[in-house]
Symmetry: C2
Subunit: 190 residues, 2 copies
Amino acid sequence: MSTMREQIIDTTSTLLEAQGYHATGLNQILAESGAPKGSLYYYFPQGKEELTAAAVEQSGKITAERIRAGLATFEDATEAIQSFVHTIAYHVEASGFSSGGPLMIVAMETVNSSERLNNACREAYGLLLDAFQEKLVMNGQTEARATQLATFIISAIEGGTILSRVHHSGNPLRQVAEEIGLFLQSVCKG
Amino acid sequence: MSTMREQIIDTTSTLLEAQGYHATGLNQILAESGAPKGSLYYYFPQGKEELTAAAVEQSGKITAERIRAGLATFEDATEAIQSFVHTIAYHVEASGFSSGGPLMIVAMETVNSSERLNNACREAYGLLLDAFQEKLVMNGQTEARATQLATFIISAIEGGTILSRVHHSGNPLRQVAEEIGLFLQSVCKG
DNA sequence: GTCTATACGGTGATAGAC
DNA sequence: GTCTATCACCGTATAGAC
C-alpha cells in the first residue's frame, strides 16, 4: 500500500538505531525520508510516539525473521547460534557500529517515560526470544529450559553489542559467540 | 573540597541512569541538585559533555569498587559471580528499574556523536572488566582466558539488565545469574 | 562563586490553504 | 494527501551584575 508510510518507518528505524530516540528529531526524519511534515501526521496522528512504536514493532518482526533464517543454516543449535552471533559481529562492524535495530536503545531510553513504547519493546523482545527458543526446543530442550537459555543468549548478545559499539570493534561480540558456543556445548551434553 | 561539584555530579548520574543523556536537561539537573546555573558552568566550563564525562568516570570507579567488594564475599569465583548477579537483580527491582548507573545508556546514546563520551564509557567498561578478570585469575584462569570470560559475563549482565528493565522484573537477570553459574561451573572444571 | 536575565536554535505539534 | 507557516516550549549556552 502506501509506500510513503513505509519509507517514513524505515528512515525512522535507521535513525533511531544510530542516534536513539531523544536525539532523533521529526524534522530529520522528514528531511531524510523525503516526506512532508503534513503527511507524517496524516499517517501517524499521535506523532513521534506512534511512529516510533511502529518502527519498533516492525524491527521486532524483521529481526525475529532474520534470527530464524540464520539459525536454520545449521541443524545443530549450538553451531547455529554460535555462527549467528559471529554474523552479528560482522554486521555491527559493517554498519559502522550502528547495529541491531532501534530496539535496544529505544527500550533503554523509554522504559520510564512511555508505557506504550515500553510495551512495544517488550513484545519485540518476546519475538526474538521465541525465535531462539524454538531452535532450542527442536534440539531437545524442554520448553521451560529453552526459554531460560534463550533469555541468557539474548542478554549476552545485547550486552556484547553494547561493548562492540563502545569499542568500535566486533571482537567483544566474537568473544561472546565463542563463550556461548562453549556453554551450549556443555549444556546440550549434560 | 567543593561539595557542590560533587552534588551536581551525583544528581547528574541519577538522572542519566533513569532517563538517558538526551532526555536529561541541564535545567533539571540544576533544579534537583539545588545548584545555580552560574556555578554549573563554573565547575564544568565545557557544559553538559564535560559534566556527563565526569559522571561516567565516577560511576565507573564506584561500580568497579562494588564489583570487587561483591566478589570478595565468596572465595570461589563461580559462587561469587553468580551471587553478585543475583544482587544486581535485586537492586534493579529495588531502584524501580533504574539500575546500573549511567554507563550503559550514555554509552549507547553517544557512541556515534561524542568521541569524548565514547572514550569515557570505554574506560569505565575497562574498569568493570578488570574487576571480574582479577577474580577469575585468582581462581586459576589465565589472564587471556579471564579477560574473555569477563567480557562474556559483563555482556550477559548488561543485556540481562536491559531485559529486566523492559520487563519490569528482576527475573531475566536472575535467569542470567543461574546460567552464568552453570557456565562457570563447567568452565572451571574442564 | 553565585545569581538573573537572556539569546538563539531546535523540538513536537497544529492550522488552514491547496 | 500534501505543503507551508507558525506555534509555544525547552534545550544549551552566555553575559554581566553582585
